[in-house]
Subunit: 510 residues, 2 copies
């Protein structure tokens, strides 16, 4: 494909993509193919000779599209959104054009420098305390990782190494003796997260080779990690001779968008550090809800002062902030805590005066992978195209849509009961039953009913939501934070739910 053919192919692809977005609502939101569908459609081997773009492009609609779940459809309300915007798509185009491995500054200085700048822009926009800015007092700064789980794995490794370095410094050992001492101590370390936190922390502990404990956070606490529960967990571990070194605090849990007690957590861990002489690293996982921090009215649950006591923070710009997947912004209070854990003596072929000068950032030492894409470009395009005001309006529009949805549920209290929310545009609800006014019904019966309604809706194909189980309650999650969702879509979602609930209840009565 020469550049002339590429231009034609690219124009044709853009036309197809525009059509796809213009008509996305007409497609069934959830793919209904059976496992193994694609192998039946494709040859067993790669072609020996090249094929024309026209032949390839045709297969996108015929063979790929049936296996696509349309995350940008206004009827996609599942999990959390993975938002798309046209400016971000342009960013991906230029990023692919400038492709390179970009493992150090000299690989393409713009890749590194734009990343530092847009993450500073965001840090200020989100109201993060100055310690998280690259220009801040503690040598902090931001980096783009792929996903929140990559961010959590990375900071668990950094936290583990910080702890072990500090815990063995007084021994005055080096070489294999130091290695032995670290290995012995490493075996006692425990990473913590609230029971409502994402499984990313458990996986990160598996990756880093440390123990993991989940701290209870149930319905009585609003599904949030409380100071009391954390204090108990830490005391239990210490009594066993184990050493908590890391905690994920969640701003917007996966199931219900609960926010852990940030001020309380900071207090408990300050007491613990004073008593034991060694601090626990706190990472705030705000993968989805972090976007809401653009709006001052959402900052009450985590003040800048509370956050400034913690070590790292991440929010996925690809969730609610219109930057196409993947793009997780990660900020640390002290960047040397990442680079000390993740840098290795560089290869001879990487030698360059800029790295030696210490004046530049080599982001490979802030992450697990070696090379990196030019992801800041799409962030820059989005921030400039929307402006901070536009992004705040984007978040507030979704929050208002969710309020409207919750009002509709409340208006049919005969059918629905809100379990949590609306919070950060997420409403978690269940279906009521005719006979349960007196609370005489078993939870199992209620759960089965809500599950029937959920299945009815998803199998109907008009919308795609997630279900969950929180505190023993089977519930449906409605999150309209996908860019294209409008008021009339939410009304339609509600109508589909009412219809399904009435059908299930009628069948029960029959």
């Amino acid at each position: 494909m020469d550049s002339k053919q590429f231009k034609e192919a690219a124009f044709s692809s853009i036309e197809e993509i525009v059509k796809y977005y213009d008509n996305i609502e007409d497609r069934p939101v959830l793919s209904t193919v059976e496992p193994g569908y694609l192998r039946k459609l494709l040859p067993a081997d790669a072609p020996e000779e090249g094929e024309s773009w026209a032949d390839i492009q045709k297969d996108i609609e015929d063979k790929i599209m049936p296996g696509i779940t349309h995350w940008q459809s206004p009827n996609f309300l599942a999990w959390f959104p993975s938002s798309s915007s046209f400016p971000a798509m342009l960013g991906e185009m230029y990023s692919a054009a400038f492709t390179g491995a970009a493992f150090n500054w000299v690989c393409s200085p713009a890749v590194t420098e734009l990343e530092t700048i847009v993450l500073d822009w965001l840090a200020r926009g989100l109201g993060l305390p100055p310690c998280f800015h690259s220009t801040g007092p503690t040598g902090g700064g931001g980096v783009i990782h792929g996903t929140a789980s990559e961010a959590v794995a990375t900071v668990v490794v950094a936290a583990r190494d910080k702890y072990l370095r500090e815990a063995t410094a007084h021994l005055g050992l080096e070489g294999e003796e130091l290695e032995d001492a670290i290995a012995e101590r490493r075996g006692r370390l425990v990473a913590l997260a609230g029971a409502s936190a994402h499984t990313a922390t458990k996986k990160a502990a598996q990756i880093a080779g440390v123990r993991f404990r989940s701290v209870p956070a149930g319905p009585g606490d609003g599904h949030r990690l409380t100071a009391a529960a954390l204090r108990d967990a830490v005391a239990t571990l210490r009594a066993r001779g184990l050493e908590p070194f890391y905690l994920t605090a969640t701003f917007g849990t996966t199931d219900t968008c609960a926010v852990d007690d940030m001020a309380g957590i900071g207090g408990v861990l300050a007491d613990d550090a004073a008593a034991h002489g060694r601090e626990v690293w706190v990472h705030v996982d705000a993968a989805y809800a972090g976007a809401a921090l653009l709006c001052p009215e959402h900052r009450a649950l985590m003040s800048a002062a509370a956050l400034a006591r913690f070590h790292s923070f991440n929010t996925n710009l690809h969730k609610w902030l219109l930057v196409n997947f993947d793009c997780s912004g990660v900020w640390v209070r002290d960047r040397t805590l990442l680079t000390r854990a993740l840098s290795v003596a560089p290869l001879a072929i990487l030698a360059n005066a800029h790295t030696d000068s210490g004046l530049v950032t080599d982001y490979r030492d802030w992450q697990i992978p070696f090379g990196r894409r030019f992801r800041s470009l799409k962030v820059w395009f989005v921030l400039r195209s929307y402006g901070l005001a536009g992004l705040r309006a984007h978040v507030r529009r979704h929050v208002a849509l969710a309020e409207g949805f919750a009002d509709r549920l409340r208006g049919r209290a005969d059918l629905f009961e809100i379990v949590t929310g609306p919070r950060f545009a997420l409403t978690v609800f269940r279906v009521r039953g005719k006979g349960e006014e007196g609370e005489g019904e078993e939870q199992e019966v209620r759960n089965a009913r809500t599950k029937r309604v959920y299945d009815e809706v998803v199998e109907g194909g008009k919308m795609f939501l997630s279900s969950t189980v929180v505190g023993g309650v089977f519930a449906i999650r409605h999150n309209p934070a996908t860019p294209m969702v409008q008021e009339h879509h939410v009304q339609k979602h509600f109508e589909v739910l009412v219809e399904a609930a009435e059908k299930v209840l009628a069948a029960e009565g029959a």
Copy 2:
């Protein structure tokens, strides 16, 4: 930006990108900006109100381009290539359009299924033994990671957990007792790699919390890891009570494209497993040179039979195989070794009948991150656009260009001496001096002379190469495996080198 505005912006961006590729040769290949250049050009804060695409696009040429090192320039000969192709760029466009987090099969079945299929296509194209095919006898298969370092980190974690699971199985423990036993044993584990291997293994060991040892591989062994060196290293560790559990064997080392003694390594580790009852996981890192396996004439250094004794293999399709960064193909002989180490009990909101059925692949359990992009699309487009014959021709063309370059060096044996190669299109050479025919010159003097020539060339801005130090020899690396390099470029590279060498030698004589 609505879809009509996007279409205009995208067409205009495509025009710019085509112009960029058509004229890339005219740009200075290496960016010469000073550290901090971009902060001076951009505002301190994100704009409050949105800006027009025209204003944003203008800044790409004015502000970003000066900070870009042009990896696709035919004068980019540094490190290894990070190749670009127009079909892969179309793949990125569609991938961005279908954006989603794709952490399990139902997120978009096509994302998972196309990945499995194209990696099977490649496994067959590369001549990998059937155990690495998803349809093979041992339940293997492929997955796309971002980079080779991510692949290595992932398999080190999987290898560590396999070893610990097997080493503690006979104890009959569970719960905290099992955890204690694993923690104790984990402290003895050692990951290994040859001294010429990429630093990714050392970093992976840091991430996984295990020890690391580099096994000597010097000029006397052709910079490759030999059976004898490995046997010695393993014996030394065992004598200390440490337990080697993992080895990276390299097919094409970073400095010189050396290939470790694959058959010999397999033999040593088979003996070791027989003696100690526990096998060492071998991962083959073929990050760059793996592409050459498409051509049967490059398979002699690693037979399928030798590879079949090992556990995992990766090659970066973004290096030599025309798939834009990032895209590392990773194959394992037994996929349960990844999923057992990397899966965690899924969140309630991920529950779906397909995952429960066990019939589908949830690739999140084959990798560190949770979500994933639709990267198989660009692989599919490249494989179909070029065909296997086209890709083989692509590799052979570069190998021939390097042979021609080496012939030119040999034709000026008064100026240049080849240190290693050409091998997989990489030639490593140094500058001769007038007075050294009798080997009377110190290495330091020779090294300084080659460094002067290297600096002269790179500062001249006409081409960008890497230098390295191998076995104490400072040498220049020439790797013309970037797609646009043609015969006349290689001739020009040679002329620039001759001119610089003659200038430096003349200055010495003056």
